[in-house]
């Protein structure tokens, strides 16, 4: 209601708009959208109110009542029980390293393919495209076997290596199409200045393409953070688990009651929400990056 009040003066200027404002259909549509939005976020709201509800209040009020007082013990208990700080650190260090290395590898590949236009580049691009499409199931057993042979099984290093390559396959594909359009004048100027290929890469190409690199970094970080299948297979010991694996394997645990389960859900949602808020602008730009040619 405050919204219409605020907008009223502007709309009264033209009779056509005033007429539209009176159209009851507008509010039917808005109400329908709000109802749909409520359905979409209701599961998260229910998790949030039950995460801060004591088991006693839950028993008397059920899942839909608002907690009469805030109760943090469920969250604290769960945090301590799974050593959540450690899982957060594992997830963070893995995702961050993969994002940095993945962007670096994408830059090197795309420099050779997009700007250097090396021979057979179409085939390299087809390879990276297919690599993107592969289901991880077709790679998982040999990777599991090889990492055991190499003594890297149940170690974050194996996860970092694997995801760096997988994410860089996407990054190479995207970044090559960006570098193909790279302004030649800048490269020629660097040539004239006598800069070598590596210098040109670091002091011309990378700074100019920084916005795209930022999008890639964000993607790689969040994707790696949310990865479930390979970390589930590779990170078997408690000390090495990432957040999704720790939460995933606790599902169905008999010791988890209703409020503790929602507490675990809430502390799993919070980091994701935080990234969403931090990266929102880069993300909405980046999600569409794949679609624009």
């Amino acid at each position: 209601m405050t919204l219409t009040a605020n907008r009223a003066p502007a709309e009264q200027r033209t009779p056509a708009k005033a007429e539209k404002r009176a159209n009851p259909l507008r509010f039917v549509i808005l109400a329908a959208l709000l109802a749909l939005l409520l359905i979409v976020i209701a599961p998260l709201l229910i998790i949030a109110i039950n995460a801060v509800k004591s088991p006693a209040d839950y028993a008397s009020g059920g899942p839909l009542s608002l907690p009469p007082r805030l109760y943090w013990d469920g969250i604290v208990d769960f945090w301590n029980r799974v050593d959540f700080g450690m899982k957060l650190w594992n997830s963070f260090i893995t995702s961050f390293t993969v994002a940095v290395l993945g962007v670096l590898l994408s830059i090197l590949n795309a420099y050779a393919l997009g700007i250097g236009k090396v021979k057979g580049r179409v085939w390299f691009l087809v390879f990276f495209l297919v690599a993107n499409l592969l289901p991880q199931e077709v790679l998982v057993y040999p990777l599991y076997f090889l990492s055991k042979e190499a003594g890297l099984y149940d170690s974050l290093i194996s996860i970092v290596i694997i995801f760096t390559v997988i994410q860089a396959a996407f990054g190479t594909y995207l970044l090559t199409s960006v570098y193909q359009e790279f302004p030649t004048e800048l490269l020629d100027a660097a040539d004239v200045d006598g800069a070598g290929k590596l210098r040109t890469l670091w002091s011309v190409v990378v700074p100019v393409s920084r916005p795209t690199l930022g999008v890639l970094f964000t993607f790689f970080f969040i994707w790696t953070w949310n990865e479930f299948f390979l970390p589930l297979v590779f990170l078997v010991s408690n000390d090495n688990q990432t957040v999704p694996v720790a939460l995933g394997v606790l599902q169905g645990d008999r010791l988890m009651d209703a409020t503790m389960t929602s507490a675990s859900g809430l502390i799993g949602i919070l980091p994701a929400m935080l990234f969403f808020l931090i990266f929102q602008r880069t993300l909405t730009r980046g999600i569409t990056a794949g679609a624009i040619k």
Partner: protein
Amino acid sequence: MRRKGYWPFLIPGVLASVLVIVVPLVMTVYTSFTKWNGVGEQRWIGFDNYTRLFDDSLFWSSFGNIVLLILAMAVVPTLLGLFLAAVLFDYVAKKFSSRWASLFRSGFYLPQVIPVAVTGIVWGWILHPEYGALNRILDTIGLGSLAHNWLGEPGSALYSVMGIMIWVQLGYPIVMFMAGLQRVDPELYEAADLDGATWWQRFRKITVYLIRPEFYVVLVTTTIAALKIFGPIFVLTGGGPSNATLVPSYFAYKNFFEKAQVGYGSAISTVLTVLIIALSIVFLRLQNRAERKA
């Protein structure tokens, strides 16, 4: 000026890709022609795994389930997302304000940013037969007779998973399509308005027509995501009850790590891979043809 001598920059990428992608891929394809439990000797058995696969009713039902999941993860979100994106972009943003439109967009996108394990917790909890919120809500509004074990009964498990996946996926097409609509020249809409076109006519003739590139991208990526689905199945149902929600990737996982039938698991994942690549080629062809016509 033609640039030369850039191939050394490819060396790290090629070496790493060979190690992590090419070698494992070749090993899996090779293993699919052998009988192997993962530790002992690997014995060549030709096409036996594949003939067994085509006689395995679980394999066929896992693909049947995938068809329904493509409906829930690709078809429904794409169509619903197209409609919602058009309403948000062309109606809400104009008749209310663009702030409302982006608020709705962010809200619908929220389930996309949540890790799959957490999606499993959230929905496993809401659909729980004893303390789940959905059964409580049904009780409260007098529909208690509808309450049941949503994810635990073979009759409803797959449909519950489908509903959850629509919830997860919806935000992605909305964001993509709203971005695509920004490319559309507003004068086209004004011209249509002057010609007395209804909103629905404009939607069909202008909106849908102009964002076909995004439409294809969304349909391809969500279909491939549906074919690969693993995490949601693992955390929601574990493929059960009595294999009612079994999907190929989970079927392969079980053979690899629970039954130690590595050869058979490799055959399943090889078939899945071939299917994904074939489908992508078909989609790319269709997209190219559509673009040439335009």
